[in-house]
Every structure is written in C-alpha cells, then in structure tokens.
C-alpha cells in the first residue's frame, strides 16, 4: 500500500497510512446509544426545570430567567447530560513526575460525578500511556534535572519582563542558536507557550488580502491564529493533495473573491503529526505543490519534532527533505523535550521581523530560565553533543516501541488509525458508554489512558489515544498490551474486519464521496 508510483517518485520510503471505515452495525448502535442518552437528557432537563430534581449545574439567576437563555445550546446540553456521566476519566490529578509510570490520587464521587472527594490514597506506579513524553525527558533525575537545578539557583524562576523589555537573557540567545542548529535553519525564536506561538505569530505573518489554506483537522491554535489574522481561510480535506491542488489552482486563477486581484500571500498551514488521527502529513507532495504555485508553507511540528526522523529532527528529516524548503517551521518544546514553550524557525529576515512584530514577543513574559536549561540540555542530548549516546538510543527506542505496539494492536483486531510510524496511536471506541468503561477498566488494571470524545472528535468516532514513549520498556508495553487485550474482549472493542483498504489516489472530483474504496 505505497503510492510511490502515483506521486512521481517523491517518496523515498513507503507511506503506510490507513483509516479503516466504521463498520455499519457499530455506527448504527452508536447512534442508538446516543439516542437513548439524549432522551434521558431531555427527561432530566424536564425534571430539573420543574424542580422535581435538584439542579446542580450552572443556571441563570431568577431575575434573569426572562432574558435570552444562556445554557440551551447543544454544547451545554451535551455537557450536563452526557459529559457529566463519564467525567471521572478526565482531569485526574497526578502527584509525581509524568514519566513512564505515574502516581495518581484516588477520587470517588458519591453524586454521580457532580462532585469528587479524595479518599487520601495514592495509586502508585500506573503505566502512563497518555503523557506526551515521546523521548522520555520528563524526569526528576539525570543530567537535565541537574542542569535545570543549577540554573534555578543562579537565575531564579521568574523573569519579570517581556522579551523586548528586560527579559532577553543570554540563556534565550543560547537556546535560539541551538534550536536553529538542531533544525538546520538560519535562525529561530523561542516563546513561552506553544499555543501562543501559533495564535500570536500567524497574525503577524498574514493579514487581510492574504489566503490561508488550512487542513481540515488542524489544531485549535492554528485555527485561532488564522481567524485572528483576518485573512481569507479555505479548508482542504485532511491530507488530501488533490483537494489542496484544486484550491491552489482556484486561488491563482480567480484571485480575491470580489475584486479578482491576485492574493498578496498564500499560506498553507499543516501539522507534522495530527494528534487525534496519528497521521503524518504528505510533506514531499505539499512542498512540490508549494513550489509549483509559489505559496508559503507553515509547518507545525508540535508532535513530530524529536519523535520522527533517524536523529529526531522531525518530519522534514523523516522524508529526507531540505529544511530550507519549509518557510516557517514551528514546533513546541512541551512534547519531546519535557519542558514548555514553542519556537519558530526560518530565514533570518523572517525571524528578525517576528522579533519586532510578534504579539508574543512584545506582550508575553519570556521563558523561565530552568525551563530553557532543560530544553538546552535535552537538545544537546538528542544531538549527541553531551558525549553520550542516550539521545540516539532514545530515538531508536521510540521507533521500535511504535512499530511493536502498533503491530500488536492491529494483530489483536482493534481499529487503529494513522501512519505506521507515528507514536500517537488512536484506538477506536465509537460508543459513548465504552468511552467511560474503557477509562475506568484500564485504571482498575493500573494503566492510565486518555480517552477522547465529542468536541475533539466527530460524534461517533470517539477513541482512546495512546502516546508511546522511549521511557516505556518492552515489559511495560507487554503488560499494557495484555490488559488492553483483556479489556478489548470484555468490552467487545475488536471491530476490525482485517481488510486492507488502500487509500484513494485517483483525482479528486465532486463525485468522490468516499475516502476509501472497498
């Protein structure tokens, strides 16, 4: 299932991505489940309205009951009646470093998840399959921690200023030079928060009269940045290059909607790894299209930096491409480096412009020095400049863990979305009761997983998302797989019909309804 032939030899390695279709029976039963819950939701709302039952959610005050209702929309209905029933799978408080194993405080609820009380017991050594700890740098021992502690005693924790005023430390300059060297770009700039990097810098790069072509499943930070910029936004189907090419052709041929003037800039927004699907962007094709139609590319490598590529340098290295082809390389330090913050890398002129015009540089507090030191030490470790081979070993361990885990889960018969090489593994659950049941059963067996439901995913495609780590040993993965197998049998989650469905690669036209053909 590789598409080297169709794409003119752009791919140097096979690209194995699969999104198995929802079985019809499962879809029907999921709707049945949601239907029953909706009916009971209406019943409960009726009882709350007529004071038969105590109302524990937020409502308007008595004086405001005649105003336009605040809590009548679908989001609030879903929140009160569906989310509340399974709320104990989220916001679980942990009380240790989120490494491969984590400690969690036990909670019980006596009124069906409206309030929680702590029993006081701490559940120890839960296998952590939910933290974005791809290279295992979330540690409280080791070289990174010692360096960060030293810098903390030297610089303190707070910076008390923005980058432009008095917050530009020598540590920040060192970090930026190191990040630029790591990525293979001319210059880079670091910010305190990954979400803010996207939402505050896209408005600085594009404005009115520009066109943004954004993937269907882009992250909220990219969507927010695009909307704040005021540019026209057009969406192309997820990872679908025919759809993107059609939009580019239309943009060049027709220009701006009313005046038909050419667009000032065309910016393509894609992500390296999409965290809800586990899919990897088709970067060689995107770069070929970008060069053909003379547009700019903004690549958000939040999940792929450190996790892909033979030496951990991200999706550009994974495909063997030139980093100079990507105009704006953005990423975060939260996932693979065990710190917090984001960066943008690119040409020197671009970064100098952003240093002056980015909202984040002008208004946001600069990064805290121990965090900066953690990033510096972890990047040096990955590059091998600290004299050890720990970084290289971790990158390889992550790749091995990914392949092993995905292969075993597919063999067991679960529906797994995404690319073979992505460390984000979504396992489809579909039915709302199974979301809550899966989270609780896995916690009973001492494994912590993240389950995702409606607003983050389409309503019938709820899933459990596993994030693999280089810190997971094979024994931990085997234990986790054994428990997942048990829970899968108990809850009947093995939906896969084991048909290898090839991805659609014929030209996209309006009569194409299905992404895959049977």
């Amino acid at each position: 299932i590789n598409h080297i032939v169709h794409n003119g030899g752009l791919y140097k390695r096979p690209f194995n991505e699969a999104f198995e279709e929802t079985p019809m029976l499962v879809a029907v039963l999921t709707y049945v489940g949601y239907g029953v819950l909706t009916l009971f939701g209406y019943l409960r709302d009726f009882m709350r309205h007529w004071k038969i039952e105590k109302c524990q959610n937020a409502t308007e005050r008595e004086e405001q009951k005649d105003f336009v209702p605040l809590y009548q929309d679908f989001e609030n209905f879903y929140n009160r009646n569906l989310y509340m029933r399974i709320r104990d799978s989220w916001n679980r408080p942990i009380c240790s470093v989120p490494g491969a194993k984590v400690d969690m405080m036990e909670r019980v609820s006596h009124d069906y998840n409206w309030t929680f009380t702590y029993t006081g017991r701490v559940i120890k050594d839960i296998i952590n399959m939910g933290s974005y700890n791809y290279l295992g740098f979330a540690q409280n021992t080791g070289a990174c921690q010692e360096a960060a502690a030293k810098v903390l005693s030297q610089y303190g924790a707070g910076v008390c200023s923005t980058r432009q005023e008095m917050g530009n430390l020598d540590k920040h300059e060192e970090l930026e030079k190191l990040v630029a060297r790591f990525l293979g770009v001319e210059s880079a700039m670091a910010y305190g928060m990954g979400f803010a990097t996207n939402s505050m810098n896209i408005p600085a790069l594009v404005g009115k009269g520009c066109l943004i072509l954004s993937d269907e499943l882009n992250h909220a930070s990219l969507v927010l940045g695009a909307r704040l910029s005021g540019a026209t936004i057009r969406i192309f189907k997820h990872n679908n290059m025919q759809s993107l090419e059609k939009l580019l052709k239309d943009a060049i041929v027709h220009g701006q909607p009313r005046t038909r003037r050419p667009w000032k800039k065309i910016l393509i927004l894609v992500e390296g790894i999409y965290s809800m699907e586990g899919s990897i962007v088709r970067l060689p094709e995107v770069i070929a299209l970008k060069k053909k139609y003379k547009s700019y590319l903004y690549l958000d490598e939040a999940h792929s930096i450190g996790a892909l590529g033979p030496s951990g340098r991200g999706v550009v290295e994974y495909f063997g491409l030139n980093p100079e082809d990507v105009d704006v390389m953005m990423g975060t330090f939260t996932k693979s480096f065990g710190a917090a913050g984001g960066y943008i890398g690119g040409k020197k002129e671009l970064i100098d412009y952003l240093r002056t015009y980015s909202h984040s540089a002008v208004y946001a507090t600069s990064m805290s020095p121990p965090v900066v030191e953690q990033i510096i030490t972890s990047i040096k470790c990955i590059m091998g400049e600290d004299g050890t081979t720990i970084g290289e070993a971790r990158v390889q361990q992550l790749a091995e863990n990914t392949r092993y885990f995905r292969r075993r889960l597919k063999e067991m018969g679960f529906i797994i979305y995404g690319n073979e090489d992505s460390p984000v593994v979504p396992l489809m659950l579909y039915m709302p009761a199974k979301i809550g049941a899966f989270g609780r059963e896995m916690l009973k067996r001492n494994i912590g997983v993240v389950v995702v439901g409606f607003p983050a995913t389409p309503i019938i495609e709820s899933r459990a998302r596993f994030c693999l780590s280089a810190a997971h040993t094979k024994e931990m993965l085997d234990t986790a797989l054994k428990e997942i197998n048990e829970v899968g049998d108990l809850l009947q989650l093995k939906y896969s019909r084991r048909r290898l469905v090839p991805l659609l690669d014929r030209p996209f036209d309006e009569t194409t309804y299905e992404e895959t053909e049977d």
Binding site: V36, F40, A433, K434, A437, Q492
Partner: protein
C-alpha cells in the same frame, strides 16, 4: 461447571447490552425506568405475535393447501 460458564456468558451478554444502550452510565432509577419500558415493549410484541400473527399464518397456510389441492385435482382430471 457448565452452569457457571453459561451464567458468566449470560452476564457478559447483559453487560454488552448495557454498554450498547448506555444503561451502564445511568443512575439506578433511570435503569429501572429504561428496563421496565423495554420489558413492556417486548411483552407487547410477544402478545401481538401470539394473538394476531398465529391467526394470519394459519389462514395463509389454509389458502396454500387449497391452492395445492386444486392443482392436484386439475392434474388428475387432465390425466384422465
């Protein structure tokens, strides 16, 4: 021990029903309401089947026998 495994299997089937119809997530009084509604529906279905469908099926079978019987008579007369 076959009784035990059958009981476990039935319990597992009931758990699957609970998960699919989301009665796993309901509070006890909601479960009582839901199951009693379901039982009433199923009971009405069985009653209707017993009263009406049996009568219809027997009428249909009678018609069929008559049709086949006539066929036999006609065939016999032709042969004669």
């Amino acid at each position: 021990m076959d009784v035990k495994s059958t009981k476990n299997f039935v319990f597992w089937l009931f758990c699957q029903f609970e998960l699919i119809t989301c009665s796993y997530l309901m509070e006890p009084w909601e479960k009582v309401l839901f199951y009693s509604f379901n039982t009433c529906m199923v009971g009405t279905l069985f009653y209707t089947t017993y009263v009406c469908v049996a009568a219809h099926v027997s009428t249909a079978l009678q018609l069929l026998w008559n049709f086949l019987g006539n066929q036999q008579e006609n065939a016999v007369s032709v042969v004669k």
